[in-house]
Symmetry: C2
Subunit: 343 residues, 2 copies
Amino acid sequence: MEDVGAERRRAAAKKRPRLEDVAARVGVSTASVSLVLRGVAGPSERTRQRVLKAAADLGYQVDRTASLLASRRTRMLGVMVDVHSPFHADLVEYLHSAAEEVGYDLVLSTQTRTRDERTAVETLLAFRSEALILLGPTAPVDTLAALDGKAPVIVVGRRIEEGQLDVVRTADDDGVGQIVDRLVALGHREITYVDGGKGVIATDRRRGYRTAMRRHGLDAHIKVLRGDNTEAAGERAARHLLDAGELPTAVVAFNDQSAIGVLAGLARAGVSVPGEVSVAGYDDDRLSRLSCFDLTTVSQGAEAQARYAVAAAVERLDEGRTEPREVVLAPHLVVRRTIAGPR
Amino acid sequence: MEDVGAERRRAAAKKRPRLEDVAARVGVSTASVSLVLRGVAGPSERTRQRVLKAAADLGYQVDRTASLLASRRTRMLGVMVDVHSPFHADLVEYLHSAAEEVGYDLVLSTQTRTRDERTAVETLLAFRSEALILLGPTAPVDTLAALDGKAPVIVVGRRIEEGQLDVVRTADDDGVGQIVDRLVALGHREITYVDGGKGVIATDRRRGYRTAMRRHGLDAHIKVLRGDNTEAAGERAARHLLDAGELPTAVVAFNDQSAIGVLAGLARAGVSVPGEVSVAGYDDDRLSRLSCFDLTTVSQGAEAQARYAVAAAVERLDEGRTEPREVVLAPHLVVRRTIAGPR
DNA sequence: ACCAGGAATTAAAGCGCTTTAAATTGTCCT
DNA sequence: AGGACAATTTAAAGCGCTTTAATTCCTGGT
């Protein structure tokens, strides 16, 4: 009993200082302190200085949960990312800067094996994000639209049918088309595509491949290998090609991770890239830029996407826009080492 | 004027439901609803069901900021990570599971170019993290110790002198020693080390290299190349070696990222690994496992570290431990493709 | 000396939830 | 029927901050 009491007292003694403590020390009201600390105009210079000093002396640090609760606004944007994606990592960084510029803060929630999309989004909402920026969400449109009722939803990187939600994305089919065009220009005809699974993004890119192949009259060479968004899938695809014994002259993968898997699979079998086979990815993520891969890929303009996404959120939040808007950016080819003319 | 009023009314109308709304709908008090929603024993089964139903109907979602504010506890652990480090990404994932198991939640804060360690930690504190788990912090001990006054600090992966703080780490010098031992056993004598900069971790690993070399009587071959924790540094080091024209038979790098840079630099110059030069890294991070690298490295046991870190936090928070404790795990060699006997 | 008007300051009412102590209800004996 | 006791339920007091409306304090002009 004694002990518990003592402990409690000790704990109370070293409790973090509150606004009230700072106010008491200076001899002003908590209102004034609050104003000074947030840099709101009003308090006199003298008060300002004294408050600042007292706050520093006490080691005062604002309690964000209380601020958020008290102010109707939170100025926080919730971002859902897939922690495994290097491309998302890039995006997050740009989102950070973009948000900072307009005075917003980011709260991240990441999906892992144990936390699915729904949980991730709920956390964001529970923390009072004012808008949700979802990077490549896989949930059905209805679900996303329902979410939009609770907070403006900005979907990044994925197509959504007909003006239901704010979307920022690149024209994925066009991007893949550009790769195919370039490969064809280099003289390739046997161009195989490694698929990215059943998401909307994957569908678009696959379509881009098919369309481009047809445009060049290469219908007969259209070949799509099952896959997903991981290195493992790329490697499997490569093994599959090798086992089949008839390597195409070029392989285009759903994304960079998959492409890197393809690269690995080929390397292991001693197939030279781009000597024997050309390989291209999609996203221009960190990994693709590593000099050991130096992968030819398509840039989605991560920075621009981040900027537009934040801008969209701000428009909804601060400028009263209510109609959904879609921003489609043009992807552009980033030619690096992994493609060349056919063998 | 009219418009603004109207808009405000509309906004108010679709405001998210509060505990009170759920309570009103069922005809009980907010207290009961709170209890039910948190799964606390007390409310009858009948009440329980009705509350759950009402909450679902209304689409109620708890406002975390309010909960946190109201409960003295937050059950949140603040984690500071470097978003660029694949090893940290691994750790975070394990931390997530470990925390979840003991009923804690994680709030992440990442340093980027624009956000330094201090800011990151302040955010964590502002969100009322009860303890801080710092992954490889670079701040001086004093700063960290000061922090410990505000919330228990658990330092992960870095040595801290003499019982000032909770620390979970692996014996880095030993780890590097193991690599050197293995290389020597394979017959290597000219083993060069690519340094990791001036942090404490780097110091330990460098020492491990030096000590091991001396132990094998290879003092004359000790050679440390300047570097840091990036791929770029590794690549620079490789170029340096190549320019000097006298390649060692083995290169040990500060971490996997740096080692991958070395690999890239050597590959570009057409030097075969492990044929002509053996290369080893440290951390056993994601990248090192990619089959295209298949890098020999040292595992720090990310999962175990995460587990111990969370355990340490819980002990401080819930079990009243106050003396700092250090957990030093034994690293273990992960032999993959990149080392072999000397040429 | 007095007052209008602006500048600085503050009292007080929440924000949406948790939690404690007290009130209410129900059950089972005697 | 009356009462003891346990099972439920709830009123009300915060949590630490923001914000609005009101108050106080200064000016300078008359």
